[in-house]
């Protein structure tokens, strides 16, 4: 990809969520303009085009000045959740038609006689077998019969499939037969979508690989159509720039590649927020951050440690929202896709409060969503939510939100909250509201715990970065509960994800399955394998339009003790020596699980290389400049009563703006109102801003 000189380049960040599409325009000097428009589900490109057109017009920037469009979208995720993907056929090895349906058999709940696993994305009649077999060493046992394969393909096409996945036993060792079927489909049926399991993810374990290949096949037609249409319409506007799509692993990839490997960008939305936090981490030289992204329905948490986000090797999609456990429970579709380790819990601003018969109550996972929304929005909601509790506590403006655009009905919220929550629990209205606020925090704490303590990390050693519409309202109390001393609320917390898009690098990961002992004999093989993998990566990226000379590669390895099944990924030490790699693994094992076993045989399972352009993006968002432009105007101030629990009770609390804060901390309670969020600092928590316009909340020790 040959980059024009940077001074000509404007960059667009487009983050499409369920409710809003955020478009950020970044000038070469780091200045930016932004537009929030309604999303247009079903035809997401409508909203995007509207947003881009408006933001360019307002900024007076001609379309041809746009250098690249960085994009994250929930389109693929929603297609899975709503089962709107393609009709997929699956070709498997003879004897293994049902691997996809049998799954791993564990169920997500105990004592449930009626548990029904999710329907496989390919029904049984569209899963066909071909007589062929590789052994575990990759040797051909039964050669593939092209006629037999052709029969299977033809039968699937007769059944009307739009996309074909192929997953053969032991293809991770030798992909020859999968390639043969792929060639045959492409030759006979040009334009047919094909997902070969070894191409999507070359890893051992037949169910996981099949599930990943099938999900990819399921999304290919939809994502291709979407990205093709988006490219066409953006080009028609006069923008002659590539579209880059956020991957679940945190890097950007070309939209052509995203169309072929949509399963790699399923988490692009949540991960864009983490990318924003990563940028913040760099700018502030704060290497250890915990992200806390609280929206209407769910809350997401992730860890940035030593300047890099934690990643997980596999995750499930489509499961009912869990309570944030890292135990893969089998409730969704398993994907062997490396992704930023984002934990999600079903607690957000719109989460419903429910009471059970035995006198306990819960917040979420059901949500009032955007419609009908919380009671106080007065749009038909009649069940109490977290937002209603925050309003009753005095945290939210009792008259209106969104800078006056949304009128609030306090009386209605109080009446229904009292009748449905407070009285049944035998509590006062304020006690009950405070209880809901606190229980929501407990639920969100699980998300944080699952990315910290369950990964052997102590949350208290991190700084919390809170964003999303509701995050800043809960952040201080949540941090206090978890012993986290410091919270940062970045500039423009509601637009944080679209800014993140503009700071993420272009990045491509390549994996090769090794399955070897790490003894001395393996050493030349390791070096050779890395070299071969980098050569392959160079080839692929050249086809994507990159100049191979301008690429840099980083090496990683996945290791485990012999007979373990789960690997830990560590960077290849600079020496390239196997003993150093083993030592690094031992340390990581100790850090994660509390012990290591010196002398026990270690196996290297996969090697990984990450390739990226040596030159960083031409311009990076400058969060300080963004803050200055947003918050220079000081705005008004006032006060209102807010309730901070039985210990502090009802306190008259200063209500102010970010523009009025100084570098000198002031003691809480303080409430800071902004256009799309409200920051709450309880008593005992000091508030200041830093020279980048971040709000800093700090608990007294």
């Amino acid at each position: 990809m040959t980059s024009p000189p940077a001074h000509r380049g404007y960059r667009l960040g487009v983050d499409v969520g369920g409710t809003f599409t955020d478009v950020a325009l970044m000038a070469p000097d780091g200045q930016f303009a932004v537009k929030k428009v309604s999303s247009t589900p079903g035809r997401y490109d409508e909203g995007i085009i509207t947003g881009i057109r408006q933001v360019l017009k307002d900024a007076g920037v001609p379309p041809e000045s746009v250098l690249e469009v960085c994009h994250s979208t929930t389109a693929a995720t929603n297609a899975v959740l709503e089962r709107r993907g393609a009709t997929v056929g699956l070709i498997t090895t003879k004897g293994f038609r049902d691997v996809l349906e049998l799954r791993r058999l564990r169920t997500p709940s105990l004592y449930d006689l009626f548990y029904t696993p999710p329907e496989p994305l390919v029904p049984r009649r569209l899963r066909l077998e071909v007589d062929e077999r590789m052994d575990a060493q990759g040797r051909v046992l039964t050669p593939i019969d092209p006629e037999d394969a052709r029969r299977a393909v033809d039968q699937l096409l007769q059944e009307g499939v739009e996309s074909i996945a192929v997953c053969l036993i032991n293809a991770y060792k030798n992909p020859l037969h999968e390639q043969a079927i792929g060639d045959l489909i492409r030759k006979d049926h040009e334009g047919m979508f094909v997902s070969l399991s070894h191409r999507v993810v070359s890893a051992i374990r037949e169910y996981e690989r099949a599930s990943t290949a099938v999900a990819n096949a399921y999304l290919m037609p939809i994502m291709n159509a979407y990205l093709t249409s988006l490219r066409r319409r953006i080009t028609a506007m006069g923008i002659k720039a590539p579209i880059l799509v956020m991957q679940s692993s945190g890097g950007m990839m070309t939209s052509h590649r995203a169309g072929r490997r949509p399963v790699f960008s399923l988490e692009s939305g949540p991960v864009a927020g983490v990318a924003g936090a990563l940028q913040l981490s760099k700018e502030m030289a704060a290497p250890n951050l915990l992200t806390f992204d609280m929206g209407g329905t769910t809350t997401k948490a992730a860890v940035i440690e030593n300047g890099a986000p934690h990643k997980a090797a596999e995750y499930e999609i489509g499961a009912p929202i869990s309570r944030g456990s890292r135990l893969l429970k089998g409730g969704g579709y398993l994907l062997l896709v490396r992704a930023v380790d984002v934990a999600e819990v079903g607690a957000g601003g719109g989460s419903l409060v429910s009471l059970d018969k035995a006198g306990s109550f819960q917040v979420g996972p059901r949500s009032a969503g955007a419609e009908p929304g919380p009671i106080c929005y007065d749009r038909g909601g009649s069940q109490p939510t977290t937002t209603d509790a925050n309003l009753l506590l005095g945290y939210l403006n009792p008259e209106s939100l969104l800078g006056g655009a949304l009128k609030v009905n306090l009386n209605k919220a109080a009446g229904l909250f009292d009748a449905q929550v407070a009285r049944p629990l035998g509590l006062s209205l304020l006690e009950a509201a405070y209880g809901v606020h606190t229980v929501a925090n407990a639920s969100m704490a699980r998300a944080i715990r699952s990315v910290t303590t369950e990964r052997g990390r102590d949350a208290r050693n991190f700084t919390l970065v809170a964003f999303g519409g509701s995050g800043p309202c809960h952040a201080a109390a949540l941090a206090h509960q978890m012993g986290i001393p410091r919270v940062i609320i970045p500039a423009a917390p509601g637009l944080f994800s679209s800014l993140g898009l503009l700071s993420a690098p272009q990045e491509y990961e390549f994996v090769h399955s090794l399955m070897t002992g790490s003894g001395a004999a393996a050493r030349p093989v390791l070096e050779e394998s890395y070299a071969a993998l980098e050569a392959e990566a160079g080839d692929v990226l050249r086809r994507e339009g990159y100049d191979p000379q301008g690429l840099v590669f980083e090496r990683f390895a996945d290791l485990h003790y012999a007979a373990q099944v789960h690997e830990l990924t560590v960077p290849m030490p600079p020496s390239g020596q196997t003993p150093d790699l083993e030592a690094a693994f031992g340390e990581e094992h100790h850090r994660t699980y509390g012990y290591q076993s010196p002398g026990e045989p270690i196996e290297i399972i996969n090697i990984r290389v990450i390739g990226r352009p040596a030159a960083p993006p031409s311009s990076q968002p400058n969060l300080a400049a963004i803050g200055a432009s947003l918050y220079r105007a000081q705005g008004g101030r006032g006060s209102r009563a807010a309730y901070f629990g039985p210990r502090h009770g009802h306190l008259q609390t200063e209500v102010t703006t970010r523009g009025r804060l100084s570098l000198q901390p002031i003691p809480g309670p303080v409430i800071i109102e902004e256009y799309d969020t409200t920051i709450v600092a309880p008593p005992g928590c000091a508030v200041s801003r830093d020279d980048r316009w971040n709000v800093i909340l700090r608990w007294e020790q």
Binding site: Y111, L113, R125, I204, R326, G594
Partner: protein, 580 residues
């Protein structure tokens, strides 16, 4: 006591935190374990217990273990009372000293607060081998406990953080796979430490008095939910008899009898009348039988509540000593899993008379499971494990599914590719069996079959299965599922093997196990013909079976239901009077 009542907020916060801690314990075992049982199959449990041994919270794991945990902790207390120190890790596996069967090794570690034990972390792992007559220590044909492997009473593997080398050496010498066993034990201790860290964080946050109150209240809460549910059941005595096929040493069917007494807000499960203990190794200790009765009752109460011992307070279990439900020394028990699952089936059979809409027809009858032993050139023996399971019975609103673990043991299957990469076996087939689900208005889940070919010169195999003579029962007019089958070299010249085997394979031999199919629910003649057509399209039933079992005639050429022929088959006589 005059402490103010616990506030509902703290209660909910601590309830969440406990689940998070036991999840983390589970994850630690799975990530750091060494055997296929820990890393892949999830055949282990983790829990936090109070100082009585009552379970405070249990991870998402094995109900079969759940009832055994209090007993194990009590055995530890009985032996070491006053001699438990920080850094201790006490293990046991002997069923006559607090264990369940020898392969399940418990690890109990104390959690100290201010120099006193506040709680215990407990993990139970099904180990790959604990010695004894057969590789994998799961032989069905041992007749006394002494043949089954190394018996460990409560002993300290670590005392004050120091390894007990005598015990470690004894274990390593007596098991076939010392590295794997010691690695899994290390994962258990690591998980117990994680549990301890998590609970100590809570103590720091809330103080031990408040936390104790809350833990007590959590149990009371589960008890209240359980009592309320039971109080809605009609009082009475409900009887059910199910059977095990045999014990593998004789051909005699083995009755399991249940009398379920519902009395106000409590219940009693009485196993009196069940078979005397068997010569074959399928006997249960009392704590095992209790666990199974609790599990069945918990299933019939479809409420969300914490997984703690409070759920079981309203349930009394009676099992006479010397029977298969309460074995007497020196009875053997390695393969008692089949019995455990049958106890659940039997209690559920009784519950189906109480709450028919909350109970499903019988599932496969539990995990069919086996152990392969591969002699190595250096004289050691490699042991591997595999299993076949995941078939559910139908219920009043749905077909039984192939693809969900039994309620008794929430475990996973073993990846074919991992198995083939680790041991000289090739899996030739793994999938569903057409026509095997019990017919019903709602169809039972299809049986699952798996086939292994031996690539090495020789290997040993023990395989445990059941439900061939007594297939999974149907409910409300639903029919039983197809019985299980073991076959050696299936096809011409092949032979059928018994349900429970302990034998040798030679190179090229193919062993096939076909699990039972799940029971059906409701009259099969009332099944929606379109549902049967969809089953036919999916290859789940053949046209012949559709006709015979469901009275549905499928026009195979047209790919449609032949409606007139179906109506005629289902109602052979024309209506005699005017319709109402």
């Amino acid at each position: 006591m005059n402490r103010p009542p616990l506030d509902p907020v703290t209660f909910e916060v601590i309830r969440n935190a406990l689940q998070s801690i036991t999840d983390e314990m589970m994850l630690t075992v799975q990530r750091t374990g060494r055997s296929p049982t820990t890393t892949q199959a999830f055949d282990f449990s983790a829990a936090l217990c109070d100082t009585n041994g009552d379970v405070l919270d249990q991870g998402l794991a094995i109900p079969i273990h759940m009832g055994g945990i209090p007993n194990a902790v009590q055995a530890v207390l009985a032996k070491f009372k006053g001699r438990v120190y920080p850094g201790d890790a006490i293990i046991l596996n002997d069923p006559y000293s607090g264990g369940l069967h020898l392969p399940d090794v418990f690890c109990v570690t104390p959690i100290f607060v201010e120099e006193r034990v506040f709680a215990y972390s407990v993990t139970v792992v099904h180990h790959m081998d604990v010695g004894g007559r057969a590789a994998g220590s799961m032989a069905h044909d041992s007749t006394e406990i002494y043949q089954e492997g190394l018996r460990i009473p409560p002993l300290k593997l670590y005392e004050r953080g120091k390894l007990n080398p005598t015990l470690a050496d004894l274990i390593k010498l007596n098991v076939r796979t010392p590295e794997v066993v010691m690695g899994d034990l290390a994962s258990q201790i690591s998980a117990c430490n994680a549990g301890s860290r998590g609970l100590l964080d809570l103590v720091e946050e809330y103080g031990q008095d408040l936390l104790k109150d809350c833990l007590r209240e959590l149990m009371d809460y589960s008890e209240r939910i359980t009592r309320r549910a039971i109080s809605q059941w009609p009082d009475g005595v409900y009887r059910f008899t199910d059977h095990l096929d045999e014990d593998g040493l004789s051909d005699d069917p083995i009755p399991i009898k249940v009398a379920l007494h519902v009395n106000g807000n409590s219940a009693m499960v009485d196993f009196t009348g069940s078979a005397p203990q068997t010569r074959g190794a399928i006997n249960c200790v009392l704590s095992q039988s209790k666990a199974m009765a609790y599990c069945a009752i918990r299933c019939a109460i479809r409420e969300d509540m914490p997984n703690n011992s409070g759920c079981f307070r309203p349930v009394e279990v009676v099992a006479p000593e010397g029977t298969i439900t309460n074995m007497r020394h020196p009875a053997s028990c390695a393969a008692r899993g089949v019995t455990s699952f049958r106890l659940i089936d039997a209690v559920l059979g009784a519950l189906a008379q109480v709450v028919p809409d909350r109970v499903a027809a019988a599932p496969e009858g539990g995990t069919s499971t086996g152990r392969f032993g591969f002699p190595q050139p250096d004289g050691s023996i490699r042991v591997f494990y595999d299993n076949v399971f995941g078939v559910r019975g139908a219920w009043n609103n749905g077909d039984g599914r192939g693809g969900a673990a039994s309620v008794g043991a929430n475990i996973s299957n073993v990846s074919v590719e991992i198995l083939e990469s680790q041991v000289p076996l090739r899996v030739r087939r793994y999938g569903l069996v057409p026509d095997s689900g019990g017919p019903g208005k709602h169809r039972g889940g299809l049986a699952i079959t798996r086939e292994w070919e031996l690539l090495a010169p020789e290997a040993t195999i023990t395989w445990r299965s059941d439900r061939r003579a007594f297939p999974p029962y149907g409910l409300m007019g639903g029919k039983p599922g197809q019985g299980s089958l073991n076959a050696l070299n299936p096809g011409p010249g092949g032979q059928t093997l018994p349900t429970k085997i302990n034998t040798r394979l030679k190179q090229g031999d193919v062993f096939r196990h076909t699990s039972p199919g799940g029971g059906g629910y409701g009259n099969p003649m009332e099944r929606d013909p379109q549902a049967t057509l969809e089953d036919w399209r999916s290859g789940k039933v053949t046209a012949a079976h559709a006709r015979e079992a469901y009275g549905v005639v499928i026009d195979e050429a047209a790919g449609q239901v032949d409606a007139p022929a179906t109506a005629k088959l289902r109602n052979p006589r024309p209506p005699t009077g005017p319709s109402p």
